[in-house]
Symmetry: C2
């Protein structure tokens, strides 16, 4: 019995009047930066974020989270820092840390290194499921700012660091307040759960895209019905300095940037004009909402100006 | 918000009239044997087994499973074999493969190697939860045979192979039908879900222990109330040849064998005398049930003869 073939960012399982929504993810090669900077207390936030940001796209409230932590030889201090980040991620997403597995696997990982995977389950009333099916031309695309690169695209990030001969302790040009490239890159992934569930309590949301690997280009179309496209005004917001630096230092094309990174917007909501007006009116410095563009007939993502 | 502090093998989350029960595990260093034997189509059964055998101990029916597969560079043929095993494990436990994550993590894993973790979620009516609380002196311990070493103790297994200078392709002494040491060790973990749920439909079961790392010694006490011990008659069944070989080749004490391996019994049920009589009467060659001993006043596991 294979998965029910429902698209979207989390797997759906019917349970009474609800769907259980499950997501799993790791943090990829962002871990290598944590190793190099010997900073292990926020990577657990990234781990929780990747899964709970996926399941909230269905309108689901995260219920619980489990982690898998694998290393060659357990370093208790290091593991405690990692778990502290996971606990913080669960706190931010108001879900229970229900369990986990710590695996010592000799000869699997390099000394001091580890891998992580996470698993979140949420629930949403069947009638409240967000699946993009009611999206229509003229709907508005709203963006919620990211905290940085989040947890995708780090293989490209590492190539840029190498090609540019840059050090993680170099200052990041244009950063305000000042920070190093390493600090900007390791900034933990923003968890959108409370913000999105708060909006859902106020207005209907037709579709939500979590901007992970693949950027806008791959992720927005996952929530759009056939024959509809996302028209995105690239002048609607400014990409944070880390993306400017990555593009310049790596000589990366606009198209590759757009299909790899979130470019400063980590979650995209699709709403009707009335809901858009409500949410844009509530935009604040603490929780900004950006009008990115709108849904138009077509296919994929249309970036303007071209 | 931390996990509800309920013991047992799976984490419990109250949901309406049910508990959701979640478990996560990997397959540990059994993977190294799969790599050495270049056989990847059954390790996925082990992966599913470790999690679903945990959650069925609460009386929960597994609903769905997700996997995390991490490797340095994706080998599609190898990954397909691994996934085929996961699909088979889900079939055996009648749960949906709801999703998964395939992570390419350059510089994390040796060429040709990978790590796996799995997550299973089940549900049980609150009134039907098995938590060991009603276990009393005089209750009977029943054992369900394992298919071999299952997926724990492989760090010790690998040390024995090294110390003994044994090859995975050596014949296993006493094996019937004949097989190699490698084949016996890689035999996939038995999935007890259908068998245990079938028993539960017929008789009350007071406690269930999944015999993983720690053997009887650590796992049976996890389901016993305070001041009760498990008295186990070691003559009640015969450990399969792989355990005899491991003990002799490695010069391992009885005590270490008992707190490391399942010794031929992968699941232990605690039932009253009437239920024991019913289940023992149903014992067949295909689904044997072994009377291991009984619950007595005391603490831990008492092995007889000593």
């Amino acid at each position: 019995k294979m998965a029910p073939g429902i698209g979207g960012f989390g797997g759906l399982y019917p349970f009474g009047d609800s769907y259980l929504v499950a997501g799993t993810d790791g943090v990829g090669t962002k871990l290598k930066l944590a190793f190099e900077m010997n900073k292990h207390d926020t990577i657990g936030i990234d781990l929780v974020a990747m899964s709970v940001n996926d399941i909230v796209t269905s309108g689901a409230q995260p219920l619980f989270f489990l982690d898998y932590f694998a290393t060659s030889h357990l370093d208790v201090d290091q593991a405690e820092q990692v778990i502290a980040g996971i606990v913080e991620g669960c706190r931010q997403s108001e879900c229970a840390l229900l369990g986990g597995e710590t695996a010592e696997m000799p000869d699997f990982y390099s000394p001091g290194e580890y891998d992580l995977s996470g698993f979140a389950v949420g629930s949403v009333a069947k009638a409240a499921l967000i699946d993009g099916s009611r999206i229509a031309a003229g709907d508005v695309l709203l963006g919620l700012p990211s905290s940085g690169v989040h947890s995708n695209g780090f293989s490209l990030v590492r190539r840029v660091l190498q090609v540019a001969g840059a050090s993680l302790s170099d200052p990041l040009p244009g950063a305000e307040p000042a920070c190093t490239i390493g600090q900007a890159l390791l900034e933990p992934t923003k968890i959108y759960v409370k913000q999105v569930l708060g909006y859902l309590a106020r207005v209907p949301i037709k579709g939500i895209a979590h901007i992970t690997g693949g950027g806008f280009t791959d992720n927005i179309p996952r929530v759009l019905p056939a024959s509809l496209a996302a028209q995105v005004d690239m002048a609607a917001w400014q990409a944070p300095p880390i993306f400017t630096w990555l593009q310049q230092a790596g000589g990366i094309s606009d198209a590759e940037m757009r299909r790899t990174f979130n470019l400063g917007i980590g979650m995209v909501l699709v709403v009707d004009a009335a809901a858009a007006a409500d949410l844009l009116a509530s935009s604040s410095a603490a929780e900004p909402v950006v009008r990115l563009g709108e849904v138009v007939p077509g296919e994929g993502v249309l970036y303007a100006p071209w």
